[in-house]
Amino acid sequence: MARLAAHGLSCDVPTGWDVRIYERSQSTVDAPASDIPMGGLVHPTMHAASSSLPPSRGDYGSGYVERMTATDVFVCLAEFDHEAGATTMFDEGQPRTLRSADFHPEAQQRVIPGMCGTQRFFTTNGRALCLYVVLGSWVRRQALVPAVNAFLARIEIDPR
């Protein structure tokens, strides 16, 4: 299985999956009365999907999730400013396994009927990240979760 790595994130690429590890362009203009770039600092994001990813996607998979079939899964790993990791929303430790009970239709960023999602905020190696997973079918979540867990088990996050 081939391994893809960039921006301190790496993963194995399962057969038939598309994976992107990207970082958006950072604004060269500072926000008013601030030394922070307009739109904030950019951080890497990983997208993995069991079918073809379109070139243009939102950070949480918009542009792709609407096209998912009942057998598709989508995994997003998005990094935040490391200071955010100090808040109570973030747990310590990278999630390696998810349960089908963790998924719920209301947990999607934008609710798409028949589908479900889950979200975990965590810190690891001094980095604060969000894991967001969407399953193409709420009914078939028990069959889809093992594929997600197999992928999560092979994600590595380098120290900041």
Binding site: A2, L4, A6, T15, D18, R20, Y22, E23, S51, P55
Partner: protein
Amino acid sequence: MTVLVLVEGVVILLLAVLVVGLLRSHAEILRALHDLGINLEEGAPPTGTKTFDLNTRSGDRRPADSGVVSADTAVRDRVGASGLAAPSADPLGDAHDLMGVTPRGDAAAVAVNGVNGLTLLSFLSTGCITCLDFWDAFRDPKNRSVGGAAANLVVLTRGPESESPAAVAQLADPELTTLLSSEAFDDYSVPVAPYFVLVDGSQSRIIGEGAAASFEQLSSLLSKAMADGGYGVGARRTRRDVLRGLRRNTTADEALDAAGIGPGHPSLHEDPRTERGQTDSGQTDSGQTDSGTTDRSAGG
């Protein structure tokens, strides 16, 4: 009188043989012209150098007919006088998944194996004049379905060590899946850009490859080749296929393959005179007993 009738009969017979021979010769000439990319039929698309053809490397055709070069030709020698690369006569290879960097420097893995539908891989360069026509054409979203309505289009250039990512970013539409990957050029034995490879993801195999001098030519060659190969909407047996029996053979092979019957299968060596499917014990060959239950251990 009888002798006269006999002589007349022989003359008619000879004339009939002559006519059949002429018709056959005419068909052979038409077929040869068709293989060379010349279609004399009314309403046929403009002709050009035929370099892209599904299954050109299956060994079924002679290199001279199909625009392929012999299997032992070195990769660098597969570039013709026109600057276009010819596929080699090797058997079509397996598909390889793609991995590389995007023009913005991000990492990307694009699945080709195990995906539903076809993927058209367009190997281009920022430096070649011929490639500019394809870069321009792929800016138009409707041209990206040149490999079929449901086919994915992936544009590949050599890696950052050979191509400027900034130059690729300037030519590639942001909505186009574009990768810089020298490994892909090696995996698919691409001698020079432009070069195109069509992959059937469900079977994880290459179904055709070659070069074209312009987008219009690529579109024409691909649509013809896909129809001949039985892919895409409206795929059907052409008159040429019927004459040559190519598609008929493929269909028979596909049907046998779908039934799990391959070369050497025992059923191919059974005596057709014996009663099929019934054994002395009253159990059928498929393991179905009279009671309607299935005994898998009896299958064989």
